[in-house]
């Protein structure tokens, strides 16, 4: 695998205004992730894991510090340019799936391809839905799917653009252990097949174990790095 750094985080701090003054959610976080790695961000609730992941995807802006993806500094870009970068480089899987309710499973998966403007969206989306085992459910709307199925659609949607980096926020958090297990298998299998870099936030020690290394957060600070 290439040794190239795909994610570089430098002195990242996020502070929000609160009734009792400023609340610092992330303190001075720095780390780097190489291409092809799989990394878990672990820590108790409220430690800032999801905020960190959101910042890595450019879904929010930090108070200070920098993040670069594939050498492109994220926060010198405006929101539109960040959206463009996400479309090209990043896939995202949410704990609560976040499928668009008015679109079928197939349409949800086609969405990122169409936003990029590439051709063949229907074909590529069909392929990957077959790969996640949903060939029978492609024309169903999210509300007609079980939680596990919805998450598989979300994973298909995240991988369909062949992103260099896949970010997953508690991907099994809303699923029972059996379904969660199936979803994890799928996530890692696709990660292997497509050579994606995987960065996931999880509570689940078993899931963290399967990653190459873990970044441990507590109260917004990076405690240690565990290989």
């Amino acid at each position: 695998m290439s040794e190239q750094v795909i994610v570089r985080v430098e002195k990242l701090t996020k502070t929000v205004a609160h009734d009792s003054g400023a609340l610092t959610i992330l303190h001075d976080i720095s780390f780097a992730i190489k291409s092809g790695e799989s990394v878990a961000i672990v820590g108790p609730s409220g430690s800032g894991k999801s905020t960190l992941l959101g910042l890595l995807a450019g879904l929010d802006t930090p108070s200070s510090g920098a993040v670069s993806i594939n050498g492109e500094s994220l926060f010198v870009l405006d929101e539109d340019a960040r959206a463009g970068l996400r479309g090209r480089l990043i896939g995202f899987v949410f704990q609560s799936f976040q499928l668009l309710p008015m679109l079928t499973a197939l349409e949800n998966v086609m969405l990122p391809l169409e936003l990029l403007g590439g051709g063949n969206a229907r074909h590529r989306a069909t392929d990957i839905l077959e790969r996640v085992g949903l060939q029978q459910r492609m024309r169903h709307y999210p509300k007609q799917l079980s939680g596990g199925e919805q998450q598989r659609v979300a994973i298909a949607r995240a991988f369909v653009t062949q992103p260099a980096l896949l970010l997953a926020d508690e991907p099994t958090g809303n699923l029972d252990s059996t379904t969660g297990g199936t979803v994890i298998e799928l996530l890692f299998a696709l990660n292997r097949e497509r050579g994606t870099t995987l960065l996931l936030v999880t509570h689940d020690p078993a899931l963290a174990q399967r990653c190459g290394r873990s970044l441990n957060l507590a109260a917004g600070r990076m405690l240690e790095e565990r290989a």
């Binding site: 879904l59 929010d60 959206a83 995202f92 309710p101 008015m102 969405l111 169409e114 403007g117």
Partner: protein, 826 residues
Amino acid sequence: MKLALRLLAREWRAGELTLILSAVVIAVAAITTVSFFTDRVHQALTTQASQLLAADLVLISDHPIPVQFADRASAAGLMLTRTLAFPSMVVAGQRNQLAEVKAVSPGYPLRGELSVSRTLFGPAEIVNSGPQPGTAWADARLMQMLGLKVGAVVEVGQANLTVVAVIAKEPDRAGDFFNIAPRLMLHSDDIARTQLIQPGSRVNYRLLIAGDARQLAAYRAWAEPHLSRGERIEDVRDARPEIRSALDRAQRYLGLAALVSAILAAVAVALSSRQFVTRHLDSCAVLRCLGASQATIFRIYLIQFILLGLAASAIGSLAGYGGQALLAEFMRGRIVDQLPAPSLWPLLEGLSIGLLLLLAFALPPLMHLKSVSTLRVLRRDLGMPRQMGMASYALGAALVAGVLIYRAGEVKLGLYVLGGLLGVVLGGLILGLLMLRVLALLRRRARGVWFYGLANAGRRRAASLTQIVGFSLGLMALLLLTLVRGDLLASWQSSLPPNAPNRFVINIQPDQLSALQQFFRRENLDEPILYPMVRGRLVAINARPVLAQNYAEERAQRLVEREFNLSWADRTRSDNHLVAGRWWRGGDAPDQFSVEEGLAQILGIKLGDRLTYEIAGTPVSGHVTSLRKVEWDSMRVNFFVIAPPALLQAQPATYITSFHLPPGHEETLNRLLRQFPNFTVIDVAAIMRDVRAIMARVSDAVTFVFLFTLLAGLVVLYAAVAATRDERLYEAAIMRTLGARSKQLAAAQLIEFAVLGMISGVLAATGASVTAFMLTQQVLHLPFAFNPWVWVAGVLGGMLGIMLAGLMATRSVLRVPPLGVLRSLS
């Protein structure tokens, strides 16, 4: 209660109440602004029109008016003065002339302008009161007939009076031009000296009253049951038919505008209540998990809504008060110099309508909220309770129907508009479903942003349909106002064109016709149309004698007591419309009459009845073979009863004509009278100027109220779009996460708004056209002009309006960082 308050405070802090609060505030502000404003404009117009009566209300009697009427008016703080009028010979040297003598008391006129000139045809000046005791004013006709000059002395009965001025304009001089004698005006103190008022004298006593509209209404309500034989009470509508229809139509239009503002308000409140309830599904599920009973949940939200409704309605009412004050300031001098102060009634009205609307639309979904599944805490995809579709709006719709009819101020108007709205709702559901089907087909072929725009428009059917119906109702209301306004203004313009006749000539003898036509040619005036006139008394209907005491209505009694002006004609005129029967043709029997429909109604005359007139001592009979509708406000010569030439030609007749004399050509009249000394010229130019000024002001008022309602409509459309802001924020955040750029999001939204706007526009234009047709025909009695542009305006206006309102309401969708949105809404 405490819990409800605490929760309300928390929700307020969390910004959860902003949308519903602003919808109610906007709705109530729109309703109250229109209410306040139309209330004031209506008062102003009535005051303006009252100038033609010299008062707001007149009590008329053929005997001295009982003192209780004046006492009661004084006690109510109303202004009053008296006039009395009677026919009498006025003598000047060797000449005498029958004149209509009018004695006025100090204070006359209470409304309008009295102006006089110091020489015959000299410049006029406005005066504040009538002639001083010992003096008299004569009108130009009397001056000419008696050969008077200012300063001359005339005898009226036993009194000698010095004529000190020529009456140029007398505000309440109008009405039956053909029967009036020239005027001599004197002070009421001089009446006793004339010794003309004896038992049995034909005297017309008038008590003129003016003041605050509500006091007047109360006074009239008190006075009417106290009237005895020979007494009647009139306002400008009763006295001046040419003004009545304009005022009535304007008032109905203002009622329609008030109605439309209520419709817009209802739509906004309905849509935002829906959003509020959707957002509270989770809280309800959680409250139930925490042990709250269904009744507790219902109580909590009921209290919240009542408090919310009260607060929002109060703010809205105050905003409405401020809004109309600004509007009135802006309009100062355009309708009248100063609008009368608004009454406080609209404030109360706004408050109660706001609360009612909120409860009407929020309660039914609330009933469903309490039955939300507790499972929702586990499975968010358990959406709205099943029944919460269009059906839950049924109660709201019923309450709103009540509010609408109340607002229209007239059941018929309210019902027609309500029918139109119902049609749009039904049509909206059917057509909306159909179009969504088509969209579903189209979206399979569409690509890129088009695909998402169409997918958004075709999102969950119930929500889309609700939006389409909401938009259509709002648009329809606005289009309806536009259409009816156009018809109204067009009818006013056509009723009094600039070259409408402003002089009448009566008493033309048959042997003078060709000489008169030559005179007009010589003077370069359009050749006049001459109408024959035969005077006759109606003596029998179907061989039954016509007696005044057979009629209950006073107007009917007066009509049968006097002589009618009958005429003959071969053909019907373009400004007379047959409403029943048919016009005579060559070869028909000559014994036929065509009767004006209003007269037929008052006297109980039906098609086929045989009427007998006594003309110069001879009975002349004929069957009623047609009924005509006459435009009395056109100021042209018109007749209640017309016969074929063969029936009346042999009777003694004079001729009458009307013509337009351009300003500055008054000298023509003197030449006319020199050549034909027996003619009487009646000048209605001043009256027409007044009528025209009032029409122009009524048009202005209608336009202003229209523009304001349009503005309120846009604001409400904005609120309606804002009601779907959450869904849009959420979907946009996901799209952004997946790499969508602002342009792509904006384009998808614009496409969605455009499609919704287009569907709504088609529906709204159709609904508005049908309703406008019904209203113009049945309520406003105007000709309906079919206007294909309303579809173009509806579709374009719908698309642009909703796109604009949509972009304004959802611009934050494009700005907010996606993470925050996903966290707060998922």
